[in-house]
Symmetry: C2
Subunit: 587 residues, 2 copies
């Protein structure tokens, strides 16, 4: 992918001084990502590109000069992997939130909306990010749904969909190839997806949690060779040694950077290291920052700031095959940050394509939405005559005990689970749940009517019903509940809101967070949305998730059937590594 | 560019151990270019690709095992810029010569034969290198002829030719964009060539001797951002700082590595450093080696061998956008060298795509030529009735003195020149040359009949005639001579040989080196060709070039109108930086 310049000759003329440059950012300490040095100098910009970097006296005429007043000047920061949907904001509201922090380019994977609205959803993310004062590249979702045949999303992407979406202007890659079993088993449809992506000159983004040894070799042969899933030092070490590009992640939930940096300690080269947010919520961005915050974590771990900057700019662009992005040099795109120190990345000025777009954390440009039909579409189609029966597990015996296959969380804040077969008492066809257990329903919300019911243990809520249409990756309505009545009320709240989250206790709604765009996103800005999500968090805490900093994230991975050992979908309970369904009642 | 695997699923199966690997290279010290460490382990290969790297006990079954006996194992070496024609060998004879030294991939610029045979010539280089036990990629010549409008080659490449040649299977780039004036002047045809190359997903190879400051900025905006022309430390430093990729050169003539490494001393990153040979002759290759010799120069300069290896493998592949080449990791092409030490790169085993192709400097596979019409084509079409008159400068006055514009070499072994206007005596319409002067003729050899005659000073020969159809880049017949009689005999010798070089003294031929393929190359192997070229060198020394280690190289750049200040073509004497002709007789 190259970012096309409007008129190459004009840029050359500007470099040669035959025409005036548009802008000179003068009196800066320029961080050079090619040799790691810092130089006093000026950067000349024309048509959004750097047409000259003047060290010493090699100056040009410019229409306008911006005095950097001796601040450090670095390239705009690149997020190598992000799901904008996780911010619960639209692409343009996301832009408003992250630009002031210095994120000028993001490589997005719109697979959440892809599951809900299919090709239209991905196209919406593309079109609604057109013309923004930041750059939002698209990787095409490779795994819609996450695991084919085990869940019903509203779309299924095979090679035909990939080929179609590859034609969008800002498509650069195939997004995280999550179905690693399909890769290492060499499943035909996955081989087709890989070849289609390669034939369309896309880079392949990976997602390979816990893979090592031969399975990691097999996955890499599959062609996806980036990974943002390294959680411990050994995993990072092995992937790095195998040539996998590490996108070190600091999401709202997963803080992997310290372990990764420890794992690759002693490396002579950082060529294959970049950084990403993956999933960051609106209030996290508002309070703590975006990519700058991620970089500061790495700096706090003792990594040299210049190395950190290089990884988050030049390396990130190279990883995704984006030419002329991520450095301060002639011919490069003029995405530039100014900051008073390198010890903490906190830009005071953000230039996008040579235009000052944020200053002192305030946007300097107007960002507007547009008229997009997807923003008006109701994506939540539940069963018409929903009733408490739909949320009632009926035991196969009237009274006695029955063995139940229970999805048990390993910890009350992690997403890993295991299967427990538990003998439960039955009274009048009703299961008697034990301490720590709740019911769980995954209701198809795309008109299929099917609802899977199971029992979950150590989820964390202790009463009431907690429901969400944000439920990776097929985003069916997932409800963890104590009584069918609470579950029903929760479902109806969310239906009325056209998607979102709701908490109900003893028949009373505590709070409903409305996410009408694909049941995933609000149309509100970060400032307003974060207030609402704070209320939703409070409600979740009341249900029992009071030990979590961000309880909203608890339910959203319950139905993600790529995280071992067992997960739910609208089709039932799944043994992840075997891709097999597990019946509710054990033999 | 990616090197396609035959059957991805089969490779994945091999990684997972579902099928046997083809080969295991066991008991090796594996050099890892991702983190710079060395590991004991085994490399598994299937279908020419690495399907697994086993450290510790993570082994697989293989049909065959090769015991590396504790030797170092590194990726095959990549030459980032080479003109095979300069070896005076065909692509397949070149392969025979370089493979035993560990060069498994070369990125070639066939612009010599492009000038002589046009599209057919480039296509010949492509087709005659098909199926070799090494990889010869092509960059399409960007500057045929070197300077448009100032010389007559047998072909002119504009965007149409570039677009056509971009379709060849192994085309990966646009070759060294030499006409830097056309770039920094923004000439329309050059802008078209650049955009055509980019539209065809080619990387742009540069060539920017002496450019700095704004002109270097302008050149880089042109899109070509590699350079193998850095000669001094300052030049290398500035280019590196501007993000230009340095292909540090050690050709038979130009030994730039010490200066370059000194220039970039203290860099924190070597991401943008690679190595190249540019031009190496058959006997140089035979005696001293190929890329391994280049690498050893860098090691002797004090660069760490692992850094050197990374630059010549992973970096070189990345520079040219070649995926899955240049590292020992799953999914990478199995080009592998074994060697007993890293202190001196001298491979004892060379594996190409998993096959042992050389051992102890002996080829282990047969390499054959083919039936190519270009090898039978006579490319030398001189004036039919060539006579001594054609080589006689007639003064505009019968007797007296006349001012002559003389092409004066700055030194007797460098290629830089300057203009001297000298007052010469004339007797009976004949110029009386002064000490150190010779006549020079550049005769079009493509049927145009025009012959340019001038006077050269400090060329180095002191008597006789020295002629060559190897005469960069248009490769017209260039003769430096004392008398028209000797020049004529020299020309006729070369005509009879269908191209090559000839030395004549006092009407007697000293030696003629036959180069019948495009007047540039022999059809002989290195062993035989180097004997002949040794005889040619001896002959050149007899003419006065006895102070040069390789006198053959003296005449070949006399007519290269991209080297300042003045150069010759078949159209006359040229002021290089102005692109203007200079008349023989001064006002």
């Amino acid at each position: 992918m190259r970012i096309k310049c409007k008129n190459r000759k004009h840029l050359i003329d500007a470099a040669m001084g035959r025409v005036e440059s548009d802008l000179c950012i003068a009196n800066a300490k320029i961080v050079n990502v090619f040799n790691g040095q810092i130089y006093d100098g000026s950067v000349y910009i024309t048509d959004g590109f750097i047409n000259h970097v003047a060290f010493e006296n090699d100056t040009l005429e410019a229409k306008e000069t911006y005095d950097a007043k001796g601040k450090y000047l670095i390239p705009g920061i690149i997020d190598s992997h992000v799901h904008i949907e996780s911010s619960m904001m639209t692409p343009y509201n996301f832009a408003k939130a992250v630009i002031p922090w210095g994120t000028t380019t993001v490589i997005t994977d719109p697979h959440e909306i892809g599951n809900v609205l299919g090709i239209d959803g991905v196209t919406y993310m593309h079109n609604s990010s057109e013309g923004l004062p930041m750059r939002q590249f698209l990787d095409i979702p490779s795994s819609v749904p996450a695991v084919k045949g085990m869940e019903n999303a509203n779309a299924t992407f095979y090679k035909e969909e990939i080929a179609k979406l590859a034609k969008l202007d800002r498509t650069i890659g195939l997004a995280e190839v999550m179905d690693y079993l399909a890769v290492i088993d060499g499943e035909e449809w996955m081989m087709d997806v890989i070849e289609t992506a390669l034939d369309n000159d896309l880079y392949l983004q990976g997602h390979a949690p816990f893979l090592s040894g031969k399975a990691l070799s097999a996955y890499l042969i599959g062609g996806a060779n980036t990974d943002h899933e390294s959680r411990d030092s050994n995993e990072a070490y092995e992937k790095f040694r195998y040539g996998m590009r590490i996108d070190a992640r600091d999401s709202s939930m997963c803080k992997n950077i310290p372990a990764i940096l420890k794992g690759i300690e002693g490396t002579r080269y950082y060529d294959n290291l970049s950084f990403c947010t993956d999933d960051r919520e609106a209030d996290d961005i508002l309070k703590n920052g975006h990519m700058n915050d991620v970089l500061n974590v790495a700096i706090q771990c003792g990594m040299d700031p210049i190395d950190v900057i290089k990884c988050a700019t030049f390396n990130a662009a190279r990883e995704a095959n984006i030419d002329k992005l991520g450095a301060i040099a002639p011919g490069y795109v003029a995405d530039i940050l100014l900051m008073p120190t390198l010890d903490k990345i906190d830009p005071t000025e953000v230039f996008f394509e040579g235009k000052l777009v944020a200053k002192d954390h305030e946007l300097q440009v107007e960002i507007k939405g547009g008229d997009f039909k997807e923003e008006q579409t109701n994506s939540v189609t539940l069963k018409d005559d929903l009733s408490t029966d739909d949320f009632t597990i009926k035991a196969p015996i009237e009274n006695g005990t029955v063995k139940v296959n229970v999805m048990a969380f390993d910890t009350k804040d992690g997403s890993a689970t295991h299967l427990e077969t538990v003998e439960l008492e039955v009274k009048n066809y009703q299961l008697c749940l034990q301490e720590g257990m709740m019911y769980v329903a995954v209701c198809n919300r795309y008109g299929l009517n099917n609802i899977a019911l199971h029992v979950v243990k150590d989820f964390g809520t202790v009463h009431g019903a907690l429901g969400s249409t944000v439920s990776h990756d097929s985003h069916n309505l997932t409800i963890v509940y104590d009584t069918p009545e609470n579950a029903l009320k929760c479902a109806l709240n969310i239906k009325e809101a056209r998607g979102g989250m709701s908490a109900v206790i003893d028949g009373e709604t505590v709070y409903t967070l409305s996410l009408p765009l694909a049941g995933l996103m609000s149309l509100k800005e970060a400032k307003d949305l974060s207030k609402e999500s704070e209320l939703m968090k409070e409600a979740n805490r009341k249900l029992g998730l009071d030990y979590m900093e961000n309880p909203i994230l608890r339910i959203v991975t319950l139905a993600l059937p790529v995280i071992p050992d067992v997960k739910m979908s609208d089709m039932g309970l799944i043994e992840v590594n075997k891709k097999e369904f597990i019946p509710l009642f054990a033999e």
